[in-house]
């Protein structure tokens, strides 16, 4: 399967389209949701330079989501904005880790967000994304390879950023260590579905769109052990959790996030921005 000059898919059967659409939803919804959650830190990050960095990373992630929604739109004939805004929670394929709120309170109402959680969540997510993009760069599907190559160049800076924060805080004072330990525990309860490839997992890997889950988990483990090797803690990764976002199971936090994000767009969908 190749794409034409204008970046469109070619020669996809109906079932191919179904498999690819499910995979693209996983990739797009992940970046979309975590980009939103990260943007809720705007103005609240620990210091001004971090506020700039964090916002810039969120913007890149929204760009990645936009590339994936663009490909998804090519397959299902829908507008990327509509795909981002108007799909119901049950049709979302993002990992639970990407949808959870940042901590207590609301952005506009006493946000008592947890920076340790933000750092740990982003380290796990970004390292997972690095492994996935490496696999997608070898995909049998050329539009996926192209988008992965583009996203990987930007991810380089993101992963470096969160890894630096993680190692610094893990080796900092007792207060930081206690907060990081609590954050690790929380993330461990939300990240089991990160590498799950959804209901078409076997078909998606048989088609060569992406590497099998076990292979990617193994690469992830190796990368994370290198990072944890620079701290006093030991890396662990959960096997299962209550909800599996890749199968459309989600928490209340997703509904809240979508409702807030779609409020303006949903009021006048035909408006041009």
């Amino acid at each position: 399967m190749e794409k034409t000059e204008n970046g469109k898919f070619e020669g996809l059967t109906e079932t191919d389209q179904e498999y690819l659409a499910d995979l693209l939803k996983q990739l797009a919804d992940d970046d979309y949701l975590l980009s939103f959650r990260s943007s809720e830190w705007l103005g609240l990050a620990p210091h001004i330079e971090e506020d700039v960095a964090s916002a810039s990373i969120s913007q890149d992630m929204m760009g990645h989501a936009s590339m994936y929604y663009g490909l998804l739109g090519d397959i299902c004939g829908r507008d990327a904005d509509d795909l981002a805004h108007f799909r119901k929670p049950a049709d979302r394929r993002n990992s639970i880790l990407t949808e959870k709120r940042n901590g207590e309170g609301e952005y506009l109402d006493a946000p008592k967000y947890d920076w340790a959680y933000h750092v740990v969540r982003n380290l796990y997510y970004n390292m997972h994304k690095k492994v996935k993009l490496d696999a997608l760069k070898q995909s049998s599907c050329s539009p996926l390879r192209d988008v992965a190559a583009k996203a990987a160049m930007e991810l380089y800076y993101h992963e470096l950023h969160w890894r630096t924060w993680f190692i610094e805080l893990m080796n900092s004072n007792d207060d930081a260590k206690a907060r990081m330990t609590a954050a690790l525990e929380k993330v461990n309860g939300e990240c089991a579905d990160l590498f799950h490839l959804g209901k078409y997992a076997e078909d998606i890997t048989a088609k060569g769109y992406i590497a099998p889950e076990a292979e990617m988990k193994d690469s992830f483990r190796k990368e994370m052990e290198k990072v944890f090797g620079q701290t006093a803690s030991v890396f662990s990764f959960p096997d299962a959790q209550k909800e599996n976002g890749r199968l459309g199971g989600h928490t209340r936090d997703l509904e809240d996030a979508l409702e807030l994000m779609n409020e303006v767009y949903g009021s006048v969908p035909e408006a041009k921005w």
Binding site: K3, N6, G7, E49, V52, A53, S54, A55, S56, I57, Q59, D60, M61, M62, G63, H64, S66, M67, S142, P143, D146, V147, A149, K150, A151, A152, M153, E154, Y156, Y157, L160, H161
Partner: protein, 167 residues
């Protein structure tokens, strides 16, 4: 007798060179290496551009400015502008003119390579000193970082290195 000017690539590129980065008026999209392909069929032009960063909010503005500029050319009926990711934009696509334009604006050109620990080095665009510190890899736009020159004591920005060799 009216002689029609033929729409050749050179003419189109010189027109595209008038389309500046919406935030940096000293560099054009040609200088930045964003123009990937120009196709002409009769009086219709199709230009394919490479986005620098995927989430760059300036892309729709560039698209609009590009089409408007091309339509100013004599004998053009339609101008289509599209973006592609089939070839990723890398910072080594910035031309010599682009490097000059960036410096003129107070932005250091992108470094050519990155060290093993992720650090990289550029010189101050104002005084040329190598005595600079990185303040923030992430800057006011996705493609730029914030640095400080310890010699002339000016804060400045640098274009980020973007290359396929980054792992």
């Amino acid at each position: 007798m009216k002689v029609e000017k033929i729409l050749d690539e050179e003419l189109i590129l010189s027109k595209l060179a008038e389309v500046k980065d919406p935030e940096i008026d000293t560099v054009s999209i040609v200088d930045l290496g964003m123009v990937y392909k120009v196709a002409v069929a009769d009086k219709n032009i199709k230009v394919t551009l490479l986005p620098t960063f995927s989430g760059c909010p300036a892309l729709p503005i560039i698209e609009k400015n590009c089409a408007a500029a091309l339509l100013e050319l004599d004998g053009v009926d339609s101008a289509e502008v599209e973006f592609t990711f089939s070839v990723p934009w890398t910072s080594d696509r910035v031309t010599e003119d682009g490097i000059r334009g960036l410096k003129e604006f107070g932005i250091a050109p992108p470094p050519e390579f990155i060290e093993g620990d992720g650090s990289w080095h550029v010189d101050c665009p104002y005084c040329g000193s190598t005595f600079v510190t990185m303040e923030n890899i992430f800057g006011p736009t996705a493609c730029r970082s914030i640095l400080y020159c310890r010699n002339c004591r000016n804060p400045f920005e640098a274009m980020k290195l973007v290359s396929s060799n980054m792992h």
